[in-house]
Amino acid sequence: MLQTIPADPQSAELPPPKPILQLVGIRKSFGTFTAVEGIDLDVREGEFLTIVGPSGSGKTTLLRMLAGMDTPSEGNITLHGQLINDVPPNKRPTCLVFQSLALFPHKSVGENIAFPLKVKGVDAAARKARALELMRVVRLPESYFDKNVMKCSGGERQRVALARALAYDPEVLFFDEPLSAIDYKLKKTLEKELKDLHRETGKTFIYITHSLEEAMVMSDRIGVMRAGRIVQIGTPEEIYGAPVDRFVCEFVGEVNTLKVQRRPDGTWEGVDVPGTFTLAPPRDGAVLDEAFVVVRPEFMRILGPGESADNRLEGVVYNEYSLGSRIQYQVRVGAKVMLVELSRGRALPASADRRVTLGWDAADAFTLES
């Protein structure tokens, strides 16, 4: 029997790592405005956790509480089981990489990186050695040691900020959208480097962003925030594959939503477009009278003659956009516009008649509470 075999410490069957940070019932209000409410969250040691949400969802407030720059109005934050609600940032083994990066403009690259060591009272030679070591880790050339930080490019500044945070040797690193002002291509590179750095250092990373795309690339787990609450938390696969509601679903990207009503016989009737639909059962076995069907554009197909699908809609293509490797079609179905994404190889021929039949299978769509 498998159970009788002594547990192999290296096996994947290990219990999930114990939480390093625990948040219980966190609320933060500013006057009458509640920025964050009802947050319960266990951050696992060594994980890369990303909190995503639109602006104003409370993610920055949450991060500031974790870093010690704000104190919760209610609830407890514990680090290794110790209450740290009122521990100031300079006494926490955590470090925040600011959105603005907050590099000291009057200090050189090397002085910026060595700053936490100087504060700790490390002597100048050891500081320099460690700073150079960290510059190697973040891939900054040694010659930059004496360079003015304000003369560095955006990407170089990112690396300086990262190295400076690492010099503090925190157990948990926080990131407040540090990549938001970086151009797309460099951003992709830095995302990968950050992910590599996470693996190399083994530290716990908590990253906040409004870009789910960024979150998907880097994170072990993603928490989606909306109006001060975490609405869903899970692996990127879970967030993408099983969104709990329409908000999460739409946050992931452009989607097609159709409002439907349940008929007594268990089939569904379209509300904004006529038709009868077969749907996957709602999440958690909920019984709904009204629901939203959400179909991602990449799961919507254009049916050729003889092709079948669980659900069909008749429409007219009225617009198409190139997305590089894919093409997005806007298809008018009654008063609704549906989006379909096809790979370039399967693009529609440029025929005069743009009448098409759309189709999707029940298993490729989500049935969500309205």
Partner: protein, 264 residues
């Protein structure tokens, strides 16, 4: 064509303004080199006699010392008060900040002779004997607001997350101030120091009422113009102007050097 004419207009206007500003100063300097005791153009005989007399005068030496002492003390006190005042003015959100921002600037707009008179009456009322030390206080009433404003401009251009970052990286509050706040405010503080010194150095109306038996350079110049003119008056006036210009020049130079070192 039009461009050329515009250029000519700009040049002639600039020249007019420069002449209007600097000609009187040049006249003062020329008057101090007049050998004759009485003022008159054209100057018949030039001499440095009155400059020598000015430099040798014990009375003028004391007056210069008084002016320097007042200006130095005003500089030190105003800069300390104004630095924290500027942080309260521009950096922190607090109840009553808007009111403070208005009240702190009001003394700049008071007519100085009225302010001086009010100070004199105030000192009398509380029984303080006026001397050059009361003048330090009086100057500060007017100079602290100016310096606060000068430093506040620097504070506005400073990202508060820099202080938070330093605090987050392990600094105590004092370390944050020493390592981040102070060095970043330094250009503003430096300009504030120059402003404080020069505004005190050249102040007449406040000194007139509040120095008591002591006398500053502007006061002495005025008194001697009213009664007992000699070319020592324009000589000291020219020296005071040159001193101020020299200080400003040196101050600017230090500023440039520091910036260049920081940029290296």
């Amino acid at each position: 064509m039009g461009h050329k004419r515009t250029n000519a207009a700009i040049w002639s206007w600039t020249l007019f303004v420069l002449v209007a500003i600097y000609l009187p100063i040049v006249c003062g300097a020329l008057a101090s080199f007049n050998k004759s005791r009485y003022f008159g153009f054209p100057i018949k005989t030039y001499s440095t006699e009155w400059w020598q007399k000015t430099l040798d005068s014990i009375e003028i030496g004391m007056i210069v010392k008084t002016s320097i002492s007042i200006a130095l003390l005003v500089t030190v006190f105003s800069v300390v008060i104004a630095t924290f005042g500027a942080l309260a003015f521009a950096r922190y959100e607090w109840k009553g900040r808007k009111l403070y921002q208005k009240l702190i600037l009001l003394p700049i707009f008071f007519p100085q002779p009225v302010l001086g008179l009010a100070m004199l009456l105030g000192f009398n009322a509380v029984g303080i004997q006026t001397s050059w030390m009361t003048a330090v206080f009086a100057h500060m009433i007017w100079i602290v607001p100016v310096v606060t404003l000068v430093i506040a401009i620097q504070v506005y251009g400073f990202d508060p997350s820099l202080e938070e970052a330093a605090y987050d990286l392990g600094c105590s509050r004092t370390q944050v101030f020493r390592e981040v706040t102070l060095p970043l405010l330094w250009p503003g503080i430096w300009s504030g120091m120059l402003f404080a010194f020069l505004l005190s150095w050249s102040n007449f109306p406040l000194s007139l009422y509040t120095t008591g038996a002591d006398s500053t350079i502007p006061e002495w110049l005025y008194a001697k113009m009213v009664a007992g003119y000699t070319p020592m008056v324009p000589a000291l006036g020219t020296m005071a102007t040159l001193g101020a210009a020299g200080l400003l020049l040196a101050g600017g130079l230090v500023g440039i050097l520091l910036r260049r070192r920081a940029a290296a």
